[in-house]
């Protein structure tokens, strides 16, 4: 479970102060995926960084069942070391996340198999295409089997096919069907077309506030896009 209460955070001082988070609260259970849409500078990345523990908010609290070990982060960058192989990267991160030594190798093989990268496991990261590097970054985020996935603009730089593949994979990772517990997924993007199919809940963020937060229900992407356009341009 991921629970957020009254988050507030600002950058700068005086007249140059920017409100990045202003009273953000929500709770997500396993199997729920929240897509946060907002223009550049709305505070999406700050929110994800607060959820990940990278920024300590000036007010409010974040509770993640399982603590920091339960979080998987996929950001703008892969966090992978270019001169290590994909497998070496995964074993390094598995070690930091406390995966027992005997489990690291099998777990890396399992994750790489799931992402269709088993035959690229021993290639250095610098030799991978953008799409494969993104898959390797997802493998890194999944190596410790996190129950909360935080995704910050994960589709940036991917072509249409790779983005569609990533959406399908994230839907699978969210899970929650067939009695499985699933994961909590929080996705931040400025593009409504990206990730809306994955979402069970939708939020529009503007000037640090959630100006809209509701279950997606049966709404079509076009309807959500129109609602988003109105929300971020009105007032």
């Amino acid at each position: 479970m991921l629970s957020v209460e009254g988050l507030r955070h600002t950058f700068g001082e005086g007249g140059g102060q920017v409100v990045a988070l202003d009273g953000v609260s929500f709770t997500l259970m396993p199997g729920q995926a929240l897509a946060i849409f907002g223009p550049n500078g709305a505070g999406k990345t700050t929110l994800l960084k607060v959820l990940a523990g990278l920024i300590r908010p000036q007010a409010g609290s974040v509770q993640v069942t399982g603590g920091r070990r339960a979080i998987g982060w996929i950001g703008h960058q892969s966090h992978l070391y270019e001169h290590l192989t994909v497998r070496e990267n995964l074993l390094f991160w598995a070690s930091l996340y406390g995966v027992p030594a005997a489990r690291r190798g099998p777990r890396a093989a399992e994750v790489l198999g799931r992402l269709g990268m088993r035959d690229r496991a021993d290639r250095p990261v610098w030799s991978l295409s953008r799409g494969l590097a993104q898959r390797a970054a997802i493998a890194k985020a999944l190596i410790h089997d996190p129950s909360v996935l935080l995704l910050d603009e994960p589709f940036t730089g991917l072509d249409l096919a790779a983005a569609a593949e990533l959406r399908a994979l994230l839907g699978e990772l969210r899970g929650g069907g067939g009695g499985a517990a699933g994961r909590v997924v929080v996705l931040a993007t400025h593009n409504v077309d990206e990730g809306v199919e994955l979402a069970t809940d939708v939020a529009f963020q503007r000037h640090g506030r959630f100006v809209h937060f509701a279950p997606r229900g049966g709404r079509e992407p076009a309807g959500i896009a129109e609602a988003y356009r109105r929300a971020v341009t009105d007032g």
Partner: protein
């Protein structure tokens, strides 16, 4: 405590593996060390000042600047694909991160010094045979102090512009005490004076190491967390 050390070793091993793969930093630093010693060798007048008087200063100026080159790379590695952000999201203890970087930097600088010391002996023809063990002891003590402070400061400046220049500017004043101690002990050792005369400077180096390793281990988290 076991987990702290295990995580530190994981970070250090990764850094050393990356360096082994690329070899760019170690080769550059070793070449720099050789060049500085060469410049000092040809840029002095041996008839004006006896070599034995200049040698300790030359040795420590060379090691100090070579260590700075090495320290610059410590957190540069983590800028690649914003790996530092990944480390900070993970449950990696900040002290383990510092110790891991410290261990990797110590190994790196030790390799440079292991190449630099024989070159120093070769160029300046100084009698180190009799005093090799205490000389290595001084180098180890002073290097630990340099690297402990340098690792902390390299994390502090990594997100700034002109990080490489800034590191030198803020680090050098902190290196003055161990530099004085190391030069004095080396001069006494090379001058054939009894080791007992250098005990005070040995104590200075040891105290510096204890204080700054402890202080840097404590302060490190404030340099990397936003």
């Amino acid at each position: 405590m076991d987990e702290l050390f295990a995580q530190a070793w994981t970070v250090a091993r990764k850094d050393l593996l990356l360096e082994f793969r690329t070899r760019t930093a170690i080769v550059s630093t070793v070449v720099f060390t050789a060049l500085v010693l060469t410049v000092f060798n040809f840029g002095r007048d041996p008839t004006a000042v006896p070599t034995i008087d200049l040698a300790p200063t030359i040795l420590w100026v060379t090691f100090t600047f070579a260590a700075m080159l090495a320290l610059n790379r410590a957190f540069q590695l983590e800028l690649e694909n914003q790996a530092l952000e990944g480390l900070l999201v993970s449950p990696l203890n900040r002290t383990s991160l510092y110790w891991g970087k410290l261990i990797a930097n110590l190994v790196f600088v030790a390799v440079v010094e292991a190449v630099g010391l024989p070159l120093f002996v070769l160029f300046f023809d100084v009698p180190v045979g009799r005093v090799l063990v205490p000389l290595i002891g001084v180098i180890a003590l002073a290097t630990l102090g340099f690297v402990a402070v340098g690792t902390l400061f390299s994390a502090l400046v990594i997100r700034t512009r002109f990080a490489e220049l800034l590191l030198v500017v803020i680090l050098l004043p902190f290196l003055v005490p161990p530099l004085i101690g190391a030069v004095q002990i080396t001069a006494q050792l090379l001058g054939g004076r009894p080791l007992s005369e250098a005990v005070g400077y040995f104590k200075l180096l040891a105290a510096y190491d204890i204080v700054f390793v402890s202080l840097a281990s404590f302060l490190f988290r404030f340099t990397v967390d936003e």
